[in-house]
């Protein structure tokens, strides 16, 4: 037996990262600002997007790519609030979206007629944190019902994110959750993280969220 060792030392994510770079180039060329929304299941990604589409849909041209393990439920929910395209990716068991899926989804979106693109990732705070999708920024959501130590339990997701949305603020009086401690934990793993506090049901913090999104669009156009 003659065994030969072939040195490779290539990043396993190299192919995905190259596809993500293609996604980023296409979106930047079209002037589309893109956010990758990640969270654990049930943190309120779809609810926040429903409100965003309903309230900003006349003002901004917003497209959405949704990723679900099974069903098109999220895409169906969002499609009620917009006649703009909501493109569903059913991952058939995979726990994250990858750049190839997003690149394919872009073919169905008129990027010239789009200001903002949301990629609603699969609900999971572990796997999506490893995959670059070509977004401008990752937004991590976590709700007050989940426990304030989520950031230190899932540090990679919070390190990857530039923005954190603490959701379901209306439930704060009913759960043992300290906003101060949650923000402290999040800043421990990512001191640069910027926070938004929202309740999609009670409309708390949504004006700040919408202001943030409008500023993102204007920033991109000025760039």
């Amino acid at each position: 037996m003659t065994v030969r060792t072939i040195e490779i030392r290539e990043p396993v994510m190299a192919k995905n990262d190259a596809l993500a770079a293609d996604v980023r180039r296409r979106l930047q060329a079209a002037g589309v600002r893109t956010f990758n929304l990640i969270s654990s299941p049930g943190a309120g990604k779809t609810a926040l997007l429903e409100r965003t589409l309903a309230d900003l849909g006349d003002d901004m041209r917003i497209a959405v790519v949704t990723g679900d393990v099974q069903t098109q439920n999220d895409a169906d929910r969002l499609a009620r609030y917009t006649d703009r395209l909501v493109q569903a990716v059913v991952t058939n068991g995979a726990c994250h979206l990858d750049a190839r899926q997003v690149l394919t989804a872009l073919d169905a979106i008129d990027l010239g007629d789009t200001d903002l693109l949301f990629i609603e990732n699969v609900g999971n705070l572990v796997c999506p944190a490893s995959w670059d999708l070509g977004e401008d920024a990752t937004v991590v959501l976590f709700s007050v019902t989940e426990g304030e130590d989520k950031p230190v339990k899932y540090p990679k997701a919070f390190r990857r994110a530039r923005y954190a949305v603490i959701s379901k603020l209306d439930l704060l009086p009913h759960v043992p959750f300290s906003l101060e401690r949650a923000i402290h934990f999040a800043q421990q793993v990512n001191p640069e993280l910027q926070f938004l506090l929202t309740s999609s049901l009670q409309s708390e913090g949504l004006e700040e969220w919408y202001g943030f999104l409008r500023a993102q669009r204007h920033g991109r156009r000025a760039a």
Partner: protein
């Protein structure tokens, strides 16, 4: 369970590097996993063993080594040049 996706990508990289016909001659696949890579090394090794035990591979051994940092790399392939093609 993204370790399975990572294991599939490692196999794809091996095929891209060697060509599909050479895959039965692979005897070991070395992967480096950083402590902050978001990968559970034992889980990745389990997934790799399952894939490398089936065609077009022929029982290659995964060798997953941990290191500091967030690297996730296909480090090397060991190929038996005497082993006949299928």
């Amino acid at each position: 369970m993204h370790e399975l996706s990572v294991a599939l990508e490692v196999c794809r990289m091996a095929e891209e590097r060697l060509g599909r016909d050479a895959l039965p001659r692979v005897v070991a696949v070395g992967v480096e996993v950083g402590d902050d890579a978001g990968i559970e090394a034992g889980n990745l090794e389990f997934c790799l063993a399952a894939l490398l035990g089936a065609p077009p591979f022929r029982g290659a051994i995964p060798r997953v080594t941990r290191q500091s940092g967030d690297a996730l790399r296909l480090a090397y392939l060991e190929v038996d040049d005497d082993r006949p093609h299928d």
